[in-house]
């Protein structure tokens, strides 16, 4: 914290005034473009990811419309393949990951009592690179003759199995955009991963030991480590693919001695940790909401922490369960079957601990709690169908059927998305000062839960009745018709619930109830400061004495373990800590992260179309990085 407390400068009041002035040095839209404030970056992450969520959702509706009835004629095979590829890619890389990143940004500094992340400009850089990568990926649509219904998007699935991805089987530029887009997004993820590791390890308020950290911070730490180890694997694979496609290399070309299975190993060695990158933040959010709304501490905190860490480690040893049917041999299949069985254990521990947290509590039935409990229930179903996948010979039947589609939507939608919505309802008041309507929130929840189960539960049955994934059409007589129609009805129910949410946000922003600092009787530090928080978060860096610090400022415990409100609720500030005054040293706004980020898509376009553009992109990137490095850190 040395950078923040500089002895020998004016009083605290003067310092705060100085910070406000610095933050106001840009106005309106410019103040957002140049911002390095983790809260603003978090909001931009969230809004952008939500827009991509709408894109991915519209793609899903096209899929469901096409499959609603046998021999559907809404889209043709080519359009269908491109749409489902973009649906998967969008939802994984442009929705769930950045929505989690939005919460990392918004919450981690507040939860650990810091004024910002460790590298604020790198944080802005992460966001702009994410936006650039997302736009680049979606620009692929326009590489086809889109006005005549020819989409140019990638068409080999989000998993992009070679050799279908090679130029000879997939001409056009869709897959080049896909591979380069994912590379760009990888840069964003890596930067964010390092940033949050350093932030969490170094920027915690005094007294915030690792074992006093809120669970969400723990899960962010584990996720960040998974990101920095997993992204390089997919990066190597994507470079090899681009070399095959652009420069006639032969990494995956069996005709020239390459091995298509190499891609699958690398993709899933990234892809399975990626699954936990998507779900661990959601688990962290739920582990914050459940204790708050039951007014009880998280049951078995160390078990929940260590099961999260165990999941992080074990996620590296299960990748080949995506590949049971590729002919790995009985020994490998047994090993990966058993490791997959075992990863169910720490997951189960978490579920039981969440239930035990609720048990005996005083449960406030508000929207964030509904979403969190919905998460626990739906994630349990997804986890159980995951256990059935570890029964390897039975999985020979289910692999690549709708049973798998059902499974991972229960984990990623019923799991991640429900928890992320719970997080939005929970923390929305902290950043806007307004509560989202609880009534409409519950309408949203019940519609979404109903629509979700209507869409994805029948898919278990479809898979067991032999319907493979990724087919754009099917004929009557397989017993699939009713289930597919149900799923389509469910998908539109989900879409309607999202509309309810959007209306709720717009109306609540204008006319929502004022929340005050602590609307939920919260337990963690963010509820101790104003809503929305000032740019510097904490006028004084708090001293932490306990897990759930803010709760312990409000309540003490009697001999029976019952909480007793502290008479004078206002926490006494620590005395004698700031003689000589503080300077609050906040990073100044900068345009250079955005400039550097613009370089990446230009380089991508250049490699695909014309090296001259790539040269321009490289210059932009270098200028951006140099400007960033040489720019004075603070305006004095």
């Amino acid at each position: 914290m040395a950078a923040i407390t500089q002895p020998g400068r004016g009083t605290l009041g003067e310092a705060l005034a100085g910070v406000r002035k610095a933050a106001d040095s840009h106005y309106g839209i410019l103040s957002w473009i140049a911002t390095v404030d983790h809260k603003r970056i978090g909001i931009m992450y969230g809004v952008t990811a939500f827009v991509f969520f709408l894109f991915g959702g519209i793609e899903a509706l096209f899929i469901r419309l096409q499959l609603a009835v046998p021999n559907g004629g809404v889209v043709d095979a080519d359009q269908y393949n491109r749409i489902f590829t973009m649906h998967g890619t969008t939802m994984v890389f442009l929705v769930v990951m950045p929505l989690s990143a939005a919460f990392f940004n918004l919450m981690v500094p507040l939860l650990i009592g810091a004024r910002d992340v460790a590298f604020p400009r790198m944080n802005a850089f992460s966001f702009w690179v994410f936006l650039a990568g997302g736009l680049f990926l979606n620009a692929s649509f326009f590489t086809g003759d889109i006005l005549n219904g020819e989409l140019g998007a990638p068409d080999a699935g989000w998993f992009g199995y070679a050799p279908l991805t090679l130029k000879q089987f997939s001409p056009g530029h869709g897959l080049d955009f896909w591979a380069f887009g994912l590379l760009i997004l990888g840069v964003s993820s890596m930067a964010a991963g390092f940033n949050f590791i350093v932030t969490i390890l170094n920027m915690r308020a005094p007294g915030m030991t690792l074992f006093r950290m809120p669970l969400f911070v723990w899960m962010t730490l584990v996720t960040s480590f998974l990101i920095i180890f997993a992204m390089p694997v997919i990066t190597v694979a994507l470079f090899e693919l681009l070399f095959d496609r652009l420069f006639d290399a032969n990494f995956f070309n069996p005709a020239a001695g390459g091995n298509p299975l190499l891609w699958q190993h690398m993709f899933w060695l990234f892809g399975h940790p990626e699954v936990y990158i998507l779900i661990l933040p959601a688990m962290g959010i739920v582990s914050e909401i459940l204790p708050t709304f039951s007014r009880k501490p998280l049951f078995g905190y160390p078990f929940v922490v260590f099961s999260g860490v165990a999941i992080g480690f074990m996620s590296w040893g299960v990748w080949a369960h995506h590949m049971y049917t590729t002919g790995l041999g009985s020994v490998a299949n047994s090993a990966f079957g058993i490791s997959t069985i075992l990863i169910g254990v720490p997951t189960g521990v978490k579920i039981f601990n969440w239930m035990a947290t609720l048990w005996g509590g005083s449960i406030s039935l508000r929207t964030p709690l509904y979403f969190s409990v919905g998460f626990v229930g739906m994630f349990t179903i997804g986890g159980l169908s995951g256990v059935t996948h570890s029964i390897v010979p039975s999985d020979y039947q289910q692999q690549d059927t709708y049973y798998v589609v059902a499974h991972f939507h229960y984990v990623l939608f019923g799991g991640a998305i429900l928890a992320l919505f719970g997080g939005i309802y929970y923390w929305f008041p902290k950043f806007t000062g307004k509560l989202l309507s609880d009534g409409w929130g519950q309408v949203h929840f019940w519609l979404m839960l109903l629509g979700f189960n209507l869409t994805f539960f029948p898919m278990h049955i479809l898979g067991l009745l032999g319907m493979p994934r990724r087919i754009y059409t099917y004929s009557e007589g397989n017993g699939w018709d009713l289930w597919n129609l149900m799923a389509t009805v469910g998908a539109f129910t989900i879409a309607f619930s999202v509309l309810v949410f959007m209306v709720n946000v717009i109306v609540s922003l204008r006319r929502g109830k004022l929340s005050g600092n602590d609307p939920w009787d919260g337990r963690t530090l963010e509820w101790a400061i104003s809503s929305p928080p000032p740019a510097y978060n904490f006028a004084e860096i708090p001293r932490v004495h306990a897990r759930d610090e803010f709760w312990h400022q409000k309540y003490t415990e009697d001999e029976q373990g019952l909480p007793v409100p502290v008479a004078a609720a206002a926490p006494a500030p620590e005395d004698g800590e700031h003689e000589g005054g503080h300077g609050i040293h906040m990073p100044s706004p900068s345009f250079f992260p955005l400039l550097a980020a613009i370089g990446f898509p230009l380089i991508g376009l250049g490699v695909i179309y014309d090296y001259a553009i790539a040269a321009v992109g490289a210059v932009v990137l270098v200028v951006g990085l140099y400007g960033w490095a040489l720019e004075p850190a603070t305006e004095e």
């Binding site: 095979a77 393949n81 068409d155 199995y161 050799p163 089987f169 069996p254 005709a255 091995n259 298509p260 039951s294 007014r295 009880k296 049951f299 078995g300 049917t325 590729t326 002919g327 041999g329 009985s330 299949n333 047994s334 079957g337 254990v345 521990v349 239930m355 035990a356 609720l358 005996g360 509590g361 409990v373 349990t380 179903i381 159980l384 169908s385 256990v387 059935t388 570890s390 029964i391 390897v392 010979p393 039975s394 999985d395 020979y396 039947q397 289910q398 692999q399 059927t401 189960n453 049955i461 067991l464 009745l465 032999g466 493979p468 994934r469 990724r470 754009y472 029976q560 373990g561 909480p563």
Partner: protein, 270 residues
């Protein structure tokens, strides 16, 4: 019930949720019973039957746990919902004994599931027996080609067929599977789970039809524009009918019917 759940009556939406879940469960069970063309529950071969039984072994405990967790959540919410705004519950931080118990218990249950799983992996993953009928399967965008390695046609080539695979009932069939272009996956749900066809690799599996009939299957690995239409039919018939079909196609046994399939490369097996 009323005392257990507390003074307020159960809300309507809880009942609706419970009914929806029960309804879906009932529908699932009717799903198992239907006799449709690719129903994995309606297994007609040794391999598919073993796979189905393993699925049941995992499915029933999973349903029990699911009902326990979902019911537990609903009961907890009803029983412990906040009744007055200043209600403050006892602050329980954990219980090591309980937590160790619910860590160990799943380990034991899952290890019990692992034993028959591993045993079945090796059983189904063994090489075909030496008296199995050898068929070489090639996935091609977008069709399945079958070659009887030990039966030659009139031109002296292995007897081949596109889309339809005729096999004798009750005899083990040894399949060697590869692809000419991109990845495909050979799958006939009522006879056996799938095995991928990967260019440059050869995978080996065996299957057996327990009764005569026509069993449909289709490519299960996304393979491009024609993926949805890449279907096949396995026609299982008596040895006499099978022999008659071979004769009709002009084929004759080359290396004797007992010749073993010869994998052409790769580690083979699942």
């Amino acid at each position: 019930m009323k005392r257990f759940l507390g003074p307020r009556s159960i809300r309507a939406h809880h009942v609706v949720t419970a009914l929806v879940l029960l309804g879906l469960l009932a529908l699932l069970l009717t799903g198992c019973a239907t006799n449709t063309s690719q129903n994995t529950f309606d297994a007609r071969g040794e391999v598919a039957k073993e796979q189905r039984d393993l699925f049941y072994m995992a499915m029933w405990p999973a349903i029990v746990v699911m009902v326990f967790v979902l019911a537990g959540l609903v009961v907890t919410l009803l029983r412990f919902r906040r009744r007055s705004p200043d209600e403050l519950p006892k602050q329980v931080h954990g219980n090591n004994r309980l937590e160790i118990a619910w860590t160990i218990a799943p380990v034991i249950i899952l290890m019990i599931l692992a034993v028959p799983t591993v045993s079945a992996i090796f059983d189904l993953g063994r090489k075909p027996r030496s008296d199995a009928l050898a068929v070489h399967v090639t996935g091609i965008q977008w069709a399945w080609q079958f070659e009887y390695s030990d039966i030659t046609d009139s031109g002296g080539q292995p007897l081949s067929s596109l889309g339809d695979l005729h096999i004798p009932v009750g005899r083990e069939i040894g399949l060697t599977i590869t692809s000419k272009d991109v990845n495909h996956s050979f799958w006939v749900p009522k006879l056996a789970g799938k095995l991928d066809a990967i260019p440059g690799n050869t995978n080996v599996m065996w299957l057996k039809a327990d009764e005569p009939g026509s069993f449909s299957g289709q490519c299960a690995e996304f393979c491009g524009l024609g993926h949805a239409g890449m279907k096949l039919t396995v026609i299982a018939q008596s040895q006499e009918d099978f022999d008659a079909w071979i004769k009709e196609k002009g084929g004759s046994p080359s290396g004797g019917q007992g010749a073993s399939p010869t994998p052409t490369g790769g580690p083979g097996g699942r």
